[in-house]
C-alpha cells in the first residue's frame, strides 16, 4: 500500500458548539479504571454518551527502563526488560539480545534459533489467548459472561506458563535469552508436553470462539466499531495484528525473516474490515497459525548447541565498544524493536542510549481517531481490541 502523508486533522467535532459546563461532560477514563488495561488515562469529552473528543495520556506506568539500561550492563538488563510487555516477556528479551548480537556480529546456532522461534510462538499463543480473555472481560464485565471466558482463557495460558516454568524455572521473568543464544535447553520429555498442550488448546479453541467471536452478542458489540483504515494505521506506525486487520499484509516473520522463520514459511493472517471484529478474527487465526508452527518447530528441532558460547556469568563480561544497531521482531502486538547506541564510558559494558520501540504505543496513537463518534461502551471495546500493554507503552 502506498503511503501518503496528508495533513491529517483530528476528527474532533467542533467543540466550540458545546458549552463547556453545560452540554459537554469531561470524563476521565482511567488511570484507575477497570478496563484501561493497566493505567492509561483517556480524557473523554462527551455529549451525553457520545464521544466528541478523546485524548489518551499514557505515562502512569513509566519506570524509566530505557534510562535504567544506560546504567546496567548488557547482561543485567535482560531480566529488566522482561517487565516491559508483561504479557509476552519472551519477546522483550529476544528483541534486546538481537540488537546486541547484531552489534557483536554473533550468529546464533541453528538449534538456538529454532528454540527462540518455538518460545516466541508459544508466547504468542499465551499472549493472544490472554487478550481474548481480557477482551471478553471488557465486553462482558467481571461479573458476567466475560469473566467466565476470561477464566477459561487463563486456564489455557497456564498450560503454556507451565511449559515455560519447566524449561526456565520461572513463570514470568524468564531471563532465558542471552547474547548468542539461549540459556536453557529443552529438558527430556518436554516436547511431548508441548504437543499435549497444543492439542488441548487446539481442541478447546472452538469453545472460546463460540463464547466470543462466533457469538451473536459479541459480534454485535464488535462489528463496525473502531474502524482503523490501512492508510491511517501505516501513518501512525501501527504494526502487528492491528495493522493486518486493516488489510495491510505485513509481518516481520515473513517480510524480514529472522531465526527459524527463514526456514519455515509463515502464513500471514489478514482481514479487510479494520474494525474490532476483524482484529479479533486476525488474532484468533494467528493463534491457530502459531499452534501449527509450534508443532513444526518442535518436530523439526535440529540438534546441536543452543548458544554460540557459554552464557555470560559475570555482569561485566560482555563489552561492546561502539556502534549502533536496530533489531526488531514480530511480537504478539507488532514490531517490537530495540535501538542501541553502544559505548558508555571506559568499560563499554553498558550502552550509551537504548530505545525500545513498543508496538502498543503506536496502537494507542490511533485512539483519538477511533473513539470519536462512538460511545463510552465502544471506547472500552476499541481500547481492548487494540491490545495495548501499558508496561511496554510507558516502559
Amino acid at each position: 500500500m502506498e503511503v501518503t502523508t496528508p495533513v491529517r486533522t483530528l476528527p474532533y467535532r467542533k467543540l466550540e458548539l458545546y458549552e463547556p459546563e453545560g452540554d459537554m461532560l469531561t470524563l476521565q477514563l482511567g488511570p484507575q479504571h477497570p478496563s484501561t488495561h493497566g493505567v492509561l488515562r483517556i480524557k473523554l469529552h462527551l455529549d451525553g454518551e457520545k464521544i466528541i473528543k478523546a485524548v489518551p495520556y499514557p505515562g502512569y506506568l513509566h519506570r524509566g527502563v530505557e534510562k535504567l539500561c544506560e546504567q546496567l550492563t548488557y547482561v543485567q538488563m535482560i531480566p529488566i526488560v522482561d517487565k516491559d510487555d508483561y504479557i509476552a516477556p519472551m519477546h522483550n528479551e529476544q528483541a534486546l539480545v538481537m540488537a546486541f548480537e547484531k552489534l557483536l556480529k554473533i550468529e546464533v546456532p541453528r538449534r538456538g534459533q529454532w528454540l527462540r522461534s518455538l518460545l516466541s510462538e508459544l508466547q504468542r499463543v499465551a499472549s493472544h489467548i490472554f487478550w481474548l480473555g481480557t477482551m471478553s472481560l471488557d465486553l462482558g464485565g467481571a461479573l458476567g459472561g466475560g469473566s467466565t471466558n476470561f477464566i477459561y482463557c487463563l486456564r489455557e495460558r497456564e498450560l503454556i506458563l507451565d511449559l515455560f516454568e519447566e524449561l526456565t524455572g520461572s513463570r514470568f521473568h524468564y531471563n532465558t535469552h542471552c547474547i548468542g543464544g539461549n540459556r536453557h535447553d529443552i529438558p527430556a520429555g518436554w516436547a511431548a508436553k508441548v504437543h499435549d498442550a497444543v492439542n488441548l488448546i487446539r481442541a478447546r479453541l472452538p469453545e472460546y470462539e463460540a463464547m466470543s467471536c462466533n457469538h451473536r452478542l459479541f459480534i454485535e458489540r464488535m462489528r463496525g466499531v473502531g474502524v482503523l483504515t490501512g492508510a491511517l494505521a501505516l501513518e501512525l506506525g501501527i504494526t502487528g495484528p492491528n495493522l493486518r486487520a486493516s488489510g495491510v499484509d505485513h509481518d516481520l516473520r515473513r517480510d524480514a525473516p529472522y531465526d527459524a522463520y527463514r526456514e519455515i514459511p509463515v502464513n500471514v493472517q489478514t482481514a479487510k474490515e479494520g474494525d474490532c471484529l476483524a482484529r479479533t478474527h486476525v488474532r484468533l487465526a494467528e493463534m491457530r497459525e502459531s499452534l501449527r508452527l509450534i508443532d513444526l518447530l518442535i518436530d523439526g528441532m535440529p540438534t546441536g548447541p543452543i548458544n554460540s558460547s557459554r552464557p555470560a556469568k559475570q555482569a561485566n563480561q560482555i563489552k561492546i565498544p561502539s556502534g549502533q544497531a536496530y533489531a526488531s521482531l514480530e511480537s504478539p502486538r507488532g514490531e517490537l524493536g530495540t535501538f542501541v547506541v553502544a559505548g558508555n564510558g571506559e568499560a563499554n559494558t553498558s550502552p550509551y542510549r537504548l530505545k525500545i520501540r513498543p508496538p502498543s504505543l503506536h496502537a494507542l496513537a490511533a485512539l483519538p481517531y477511533l473513539l470519536v463518534g462512538h460511545n463510552v461502551s465502544d471506547a472500552v471495546a476499541i481500547l481492548g481490541s487494540l491490545d495495548p500493554i501499558m508496561g511496554e507503552v510507558d516502559r
Binding site: 454518551e49 464485565g141 461479573l143 458476567g144 477464566i151 458489540r221
Partner: protein
C-alpha cells in the same frame, strides 16, 4: 388482621433470607461454570458467606463524597431495597393467599416494579459523580424503555385468564394450562419477552449497562461504601428473586403443581427461573446502550403488541374453550 400482618412479616423475612441464599447460590453456580469451587470456608460449603459479607459491609465506613446531595445520597439505597421488595407483597403464595390480594395485582406489580428505578436514579444523581450520573441516566432510560414490553408481555396472561388478579391468573392456569406451555403461540413468546424485559428491569446481563463495571466503573454505586453499597447490591438481587417469582406466577402456574399445590412449587419454579437468569448472566457479554434501545423499541415493543392481539384473537376464536 393479625394473620395478614404476620404473613407480611414472614414474606419480607423469607424474601430477604432467600436473597441471601441466592447470593451464595449464584456464587456457587458461577464457580461451577468457571471451573472454580466458589465460597467454601465460611460455614458448611460456604453457606454463611453472605452473612460474612453482610457483617463486613456493616462494619465499613460510610463516606459521603464532596459536593453530593447528602439527603438524597443517604436516602436512596434503603429505598431501593424497599421498592424492590414491594412487588413481593402481591405474589400469591398458595391458593388464595397473598399479602395483598388485589383485583388489579398485575398492574400494581408492574407499577411498583417500574418505581424501582427512582431510587436508583436518586443514588446516581446525588453522588455528584459522572460515572454514577451516566449510570443513573442509563438505568432510567433502560428501565422505562423495557417497561413497555414488560407491560405488553404481562397483558398476555391477563387476556388469556380474563383477570388482573395474580391469584386468579394462577387459578386459571391450574385449571386450564400453564401459559408458558399452552397456548404455545402467545404463551411461550410472551414468557420469553417477559423474561427479557425482567432481565432489563433488574439490570442483569446482557442488559446490565447501568452498572457496566468495565465501562462505568460501578455505575450508580461508584460512590457508595459500606452498607449503603450493600443496599443497592441487595436490591438488585431482591429484584431478581421477586421478578423470578412473578414470572413463575404469571406464566408457570405459580403454586400449581402435581401432588400438592402450595408454596414449595412456587419456590421451586422461582429457583429454576433464577438459575436460568444467572446461567445467562455468567455466559453472555453485555449489550451496548444504543443496541439495547434499538432492540426494545424496534423489535420488542411491536412483538409485544402482536402477542397481545394474538392472545385476544385466541380468546375470540374459541379455541381456548
Amino acid at each position: 388482621m393479625i394473620f395478614a400482618a404476620s404473613l407480611a412479616a414472614a414474606v419480607v423475612i423469607v424474601v430477604l433470607s432467600a436473597t441471601a441464599l441466592a447470593l451464595w447460590y449464584e456464587r456457587k453456580l458461577a464457580a461451577r461454570m468457571q471451573t472454580r469451587i466458589g465460597p467454601q470456608f465460611v460455614g458448611p460449603i460456604g453457606l454463611f458467606q453472605p452473612v460474612a459479607d453482610l457483617l463486613k459491609l456493616v462494619q465499613k465506613e460510610e463516606i459521603v463524597p464532596m459536593g453530593a446531595d447528602r439527603v438524597l445520597f443517604a436516602l436512596a439505597p434503603p429505598l431501593t431495597v424497599i421498592f424492590a421488595l414491594a412487588a413481593a407483597a402481591f405474589v400469591p403464595l398458595w391458593p388464595g393467599v397473598a399479602v395483598v390480594r388485589s383485583d388489579v395485582g398485575v398492574l400494581l406489580v408492574i407499577g411498583f416494579g417500574g418505581l424501582a428505578m427512582v431510587p436508583v436514579w436518586m443514588a446516581g444523581w446525588a453522588s455528584f459523580n459522572k460515572y454514577a450520573l451516566l449510570g443513573a441516566m442509563r438505568a432510567v432510560a433502560q428501565s422505562i424503555s423495557y417497561g413497555v414490553p414488560l407491560v405488553l408481555a404481562a397483558m398476555v396472561p391477563v387476556i388469556l385468564a380474563g383477570t388482573m388478579d395474580l391469584d386468579g391468573i394462577t387459578q386459571f392456569q391450574a385449571t386450564h394450562h400453564w401459559f408458558g406451555l399452552w397456548p404455545i403461540i402467545p404463551g411461550l413468546p410472551a414468557f420469553i419477552l417477559f423474561l427479557l424485559a425482567m432481565l432489563a428491569e433488574s439490570n442483569r446481563i446482557p442488559f446490565d449497562i447501568p452498572e457496566a463495571e468495565s465501562e462505568l466503573v460501578a455505575g450508580v454505586t461508584t460512590e457508595y461504601t459500606g452498607m449503603q453499597f450493600g443496599f443497592v447490591y441487595l436490591a438488585e438481587y431482591v429484584h431478581t428473586v421477586v421478578g423470578a417469582a412473578i414470572g413463575s406466577v404469571m406464566f408457570l402456574g405459580g403454586w400449581d403443581g402435581p401432588f400438592a399445590p402450595g408454596l414449595h412449587w412456587l419456590l421451586l419454579k422461582t429457583l429454576c427461573l433464577f438459575t436460568f437468569i444467572y446461567w445467562i448472566r455468567w455466559t453472555l457479554v453485555r449489550l451496548r446502550a444504543d443496541q439495547l434501545m434499538t432492540l426494545c423499541w424496534k423489535w420488542l415493543v411491536p412483538a409485544g403488541l402482536g402477542l397481545v392481539f394474538l392472545s385476544a384473537a385466541w380468546n375470540q376464536t374459541g379455541w381456548s374453550r
